[in-house]
Amino acid sequence: MKRMVVGLLALLLVGTALPALDDAKDKDKAKEKTTAVKPRTPAEQYLAVAKDFQNARQDFRKAFLAAKSQEERSKIIKEKSPNALKYAEQMSEIAAKNPRDDAAVDALAWIVTNVGYPPPVNKALNVLASDHLDSKKLGPVCLSLTYSDSQAARDFLRAVIEKNPQHDIQGQACYSLGVLLKNLAERQSLARAEREKLQKDAEGLLNRAAEKYGNVKLGRGTLADRARGELFEMHYLVIGKTAPDIQGQDLDGKQFKLADYRGRVVVLDFWGHW
């Protein structure tokens, strides 16, 4: 029953989102004619594109889960998987046409947090850095960049730390840049000097996040908790350090410890079946 309700809801959402998109296409024409049709606000345009993408993704997910064979799944991936780039273009247009509107930040932030492909993300970050550094909406953007390896992400985060007026957003940028550099330092291919430089910079930023911005809330905890967790990882869980021992019960309730496995190469896998 629950599934049916969800399905119905998805249908309803598609039903409302589609005409909205047509509106967007017709908007320019409407402007030229200066008819009585009220042009949609940039915020409404942004929401329509975001909803359209969400619906396309839901449709894809539903079809994928319903598929019975591997071939069917491959076909669905090919035909139905929503192309985020197409939506990124629409978002980028909304931002370009309404540079002074708050919706520009929403549209650019959407690109950064939803598109996996670097070029549009980097472009959006550059626009955010040059035009919207004082926005109150940059927190989630900062936090989404911790696994990025682009220079644009680093430049953006540094600029937010220096120029955003909000204490909590500065803190999130400071923490995110610290984690980003820590992650970069873990790449296999790095020369030692390069790794150490990244680690030192990461440590400085994480210490600053824990001290200057420690009381800023993040998820269930604070920036101080999270930054200290990252610093512990940097000190004790980096390549080249001896791993701390693990002791506990296995799935049958039997006690065992990591130290029992000295003399063997060990792959540790933190996993969950969800």
């Binding site: 390549i239 496995y261 060990v266 792959v267 896998d269 079946h273």
Partner: protein
Amino acid sequence: MYPHERSLVKRLQDKPFALLGINSDPQKEKLKEALEKEQITWRSWWDRTTSGPIATTWNVQAWPTIYVLDQNGVIRAKNVRGAAMDKVVDDLLKEMQESKTP
């Protein structure tokens, strides 16, 4: 993940190698069904939740998270997957053998 891990464990069953899990599933019964269904033969600590004591100590924020340790328990790689994991493990086993035969 599972198919690659199964083949890794099988391929290296006669080598000084172990795959060990730290599991964060809250429901043990469901988990045991998964073990059977996915033929997960390797041992895991049961950490109970994603904020269990082991995951918290190791600052794990994403699942799966992977560490590769050498014979002395030194961390040699993090978050390697698939072919990259195979290579790291094979290189470490080779390094181990070479240190034994001067």
